[in-house]
């Protein structure tokens, strides 16, 4: 019973991991890739860790797997957000098929959409007043 449940959980986790990495290869720009890969791989690895707990080989292994799952759930979105923010500030353009850019609209309201990823110039009005460039 435990073995069957663990196999189902680990199988679902492996499927999520694989699809996340296919998304990392197939999608067109950094922002789409960070979205697909982070969400799928975080959930998939947490499923694998839960499957390790459910299999019940030893108590120490189960407790460490739960700890590791909680840590990955907390830190992986933070890392993905930091990478996406760093990519935007370092000037990586959006894919030409993207339809909305709320961060750029808020940060540089006076610019045309193609130039919003460039760094802020001196004397330029900044939206929302939070970013000093």
């Amino acid at each position: 019973m435990n073995e069957t449940a663990a196999q189902i959980l680990i199988g679902v986790g492996l499927a999520f991991d694989l699809f996340g990495c296919i998304g990392l290869v197939r999608l067109p720009d950094v922002y789409n890739r960070v979205q697909a890969a982070t969400k799928c791989v975080t959930l998939g690895t947490c499923f694998i860790l839960l499957g390790t707990t459910v299999y019940g080989m030893s108590a120490a292994m189960g407790i460490k797997a739960v700890l590791c799952a909680v840590f990955i759930l907390l830190t992986s979105p933070v890392a993905a957000h930091a990478i996406a923010r760093g990519a935007y500030k370092s000037g990586v353009r959006l894919w030409e098929g993207s339809v909305v850019d709320r961060y750029g609209e808020e940060k540089h309201p006076s610019r045309p959409p193609d130039e919003r990823t460039e760094p802020a110039q001196a004397g330029e009005p900044l939206g929302a007043g939070r970013e000093s460039g």
Partner: protein, 88 residues
């Protein structure tokens, strides 16, 4: 269960090779950083598979340490991409 874990290890290795493709091919530096982050998370899952396969506890210690160090490294790379000082 051993056959299942073997299939799981092969699937994870294939996913890791997809990440390596993105690390080598990615047109910009953030692409490579994302792929390094995802590769670290995949290695945590691979450590679980190895722990179940061999029945040894210490693979879970490796998984926890790898998750911590991967997070710290990714944050440092993201700050570097942002083009600011580390102690801001």
């Amino acid at each position: 269960m051993t056959t299942f874990l073997l299939i799981g290890a092969v699937v994870l290795l294939f996913a890791a090779f997809l990440c390596l493709y993105r690390i080598g091919q990615g047109p910009t530096a953030p692409d490579r950083t994302v792929a390094i982050d995802i590769l670290g998370t995949l290695i945590v899952g691979f450590c679980c598979i190895m722990a179940l396969w061999t029945g040894q506890d210490f693979y879970m210690n490796i998984a926890i340490a790898w998750a911590l160090l991967s997070f710290i490294g990714t944050i440092a790379l993201a700050k570097y991409l942002e083009g600011r000082y580390y102690d801001e």
